[in-house]
């Protein structure tokens, strides 16, 4: 069953606030969309709406965390990270606050709201802060595992969540090793590292390609930072060509992170699929993925190009 990762976040957070009476949840007037309203429903005394004032929300989160409470602070990814980058750097990460910034509506799959609401630089700007951890889960179960994992540590992190429903690749019983890359399809010659919603597009592409005698490896990277360098290099060594796929600018996100590891440890040709350093526009989520070459067709094409170049 398909479910948006923001929905999975809301469900898991609802459980967590009931299990741990220290957790405090903050939102900036988007609790219905970010799904923190589900936590408010069961623990209203530990939910604070900070209103349309994201910078203050981050500072308030720091103050609450410094008092011994884990804090989940949510807004749209655009505002939770973009508007508050400096507050996150100086008030959350530098002091090492136990704050989990969970940004929903990441990427262009926000759709019709258009560029002002399409966070396509969030992973880049969060990744560039020392000590910051950056997660981008691909489905319901991975989201729940990551949210539970970060709720049980005392360090800051950013979790990018999506608006639109995505297929499940894992199930309730999957044992996650948080931080490690996960091979979802074992193929040969071509390896695709994908994150978030792009995992779904890559897996669709695999079905098409398989029918045509090509089968790439698909690797789910849900932890962009710290990146599982060992796991990435192992994949790089086993393949001749690498593709990265993210619903994010090709500058600074997953593609850059994989290239950095390849540069250092195993140079190889890498094709980065993502937003090609441009602003997108309004449109339906499916139309946008096609228009900006993030859909399964674009991935099929990239893999075929490699085979044709041989």
């Amino acid at each position: 069953m398909a479910k948006a990762t923001r929905e999975a976040y809301g469900e898991e957070l609802q459980k967590l606030v009931q299990e741990n009476d220290k957790i405090v949840v903050l939102d900036a007037d988007l609790s219905g969309s970010t799904k923190t309203a589900m936590a408010k429903k069961v623990a209203p005394e530990r939910f604070f709406n900070i209103g349309i004032a994201e910078g203050n929300m981050i500072g308030v989160a720091a103050g609450i965390a410094s008092s011994g409470h884990p804090v989940f602070a949510s807004s749209f990814a655009m505002f939770a990270t973009g508007r508050c980058w400096e507050q996150i750097r100086n008030s959350i990460v530098y002091p090492g606050m136990n704050v989990k910034i969970c940004g929903s509506h990441g990427g262009i799959s926000v759709g019709e709201d258009g560029v002002s609401h399409q966070a396509t630089e969030d992973m880049a700007i969060m990744r560039s802060i020392p000590e910051m951890r950056v997660f981008c889960p691909c489905d319901e179960w991975e989201t729940k595992a990551i949210i539970r994992h970060v709720a049980n540590d005392d360090k800051p992190c950013y979790v990018r969540l999506g608006r639109s429903a995505v297929e499940n690749f894992f199930d309730e019983n999957t044992k996650f090793e948080i931080g490690k890359v996960q091979v979802l399809n074992r193929g040969q010659k071509v390896a695709i590292f994908a994150t978030g919603l792009m995992v779904q597009e890559c897996m669709k592409a695999v079905s098409t390609l398989k029918a045509q005698g090509m089968e790439p490896t698909v690797v789910d990277v849900s932890c962009i930072k710290p990146l599982d360098e060992e796991g990435v290099v192992e994949i790089l060594k086993q393949h001749d060509f690498v593709i990265t796929a993210e619903e994010h600018n090709i500058i600074g996100g997953l593609g850059s992170a994989i290239c950095e590891v390849a540069c250092k440890l195993h140079p190889i040709k890498i094709r980065r699929i993502g937003i090609q350093d441009e602003f997108a526009q309004s449109g339906s989520y499916k139309e946008l993925l096609k228009a900006y070459k993030l859909s399964d067709e674009a991935i099929v094409e990239a893999v075929k190009e490699y085979y044709q170049s041989l």
Partner: protein, 269 residues
């Protein structure tokens, strides 16, 4: 001189020494806040060596983080900080240019980027409400800092959540780096603005101990509202050539100027 005045004078001496020794730092806004911090740490706040490491006590956020020399010197004078103050701003020192809570136990929030400390103080006050404790949260802002929009987001939030356990103080010395606040970007009337945002506002002379004490007592007695103490101060207070001079916002005295400053301060002893 009574003992509190003596402590304040020692703090002032250390401020000018630290900044001169580091050859950088912010003497003006440190000297203007000295009486306020002295009353806070020696009388008002429940803090001592047994609880300095904990958040389970009254806490203070130096939202105007550049006044770090005043905070470090006050913590040292109170016996809560044992680092060599002369390592201030030096490589590998715990005494970073702007306060770092990870390296100094008595620093309750890392600050330096203006407008952010007050939000953290609001968060601390919210947490104390969640925890149903009686601890109080204090925050010191600069008047120039009130030009930051985030200060007003925090002000709105504190009143909305009726944070009567929060007391903010504005060190109203009238000067910022580029000159007089009303010439650079007038944040006034700061008192009326906070009142309009729903705060209990008290205006005092920030160098008068009795007025500072009385204001804190009124803040403690006020229920259902956060309190803002607008403390009228003199930038560079206590060192004649630094007083009311924006040029001493972030400049270190040279050896000669240090000697002159110490001579003036020692004359008070």
């Amino acid at each position: 001189m009574n003992s509190l005045e003596k402590h304040a004078n020692n703090i002032r001496k250390n401020i000018v020494k630290m900044v001169a020794n580091a050859k950088s730092g912010h003497p003006g806004g440190s000297l203007s806040a000295t009486e306020i911090l002295s009353v806070l740490y020696f009388e008002e706040m429940k803090i001592d060596e047994s609880n300095v490491d904990s958040c389970d006590r009254d806490r203070f956020v130096l939202s105007k983080g550049h006044a770090s020399p005043c905070l470090y010197a006050t913590l040292a004078e109170r016996g809560l900080l044992h680092d060599d103050l002369m390592t201030f701003r030096k490589l590998n020192s715990n005494l970073q240019g702007h306060p770092n809570m990870r390296s100094v136990a008595g620093v309750d929030m890392s600050t330096g980027s203006l407008g952010q400390g007050i939000s953290a103080a609001v968060g601390m006050a919210i947490a104390n409400k969640v925890d149903h404790n009686d601890h109080r949260i204090y925050a010191l802002l600069g008047d120039g800092e009130c030009e930051e929009g985030q200060v007003w987001e925090a002000a709105m939030c504190a009143a909305h959540y009726k944070l009567d356990n929060l007391c903010a103080i504005v060190d109203f010395n009238g000067l910022q780096i580029d000159g007089e606040i009303q010439d650079v970007m007038n944040p006034c009337p700061i008192d009326q603005k906070f009142a309009a945002f729903g705060w209990n506002v008290i205006v005092i002379d920030g160098h008068d101990y009795d007025q500072i004490r009385a204001a804190f007592a009124k803040a403690r007695a006020c229920k259902g509202q956060p309190t803002m103490i607008l403390a009228k101060t003199i930038k560079g207070k206590g060192v004649s050539f630094m007083e009311n001079n924006a040029g001493w916002h972030g400049v270190a005295p040279n050896e000669e100027q240090l000697a002159q400053a110490l001579k003036e301060l020692e004359a008070n002893d």
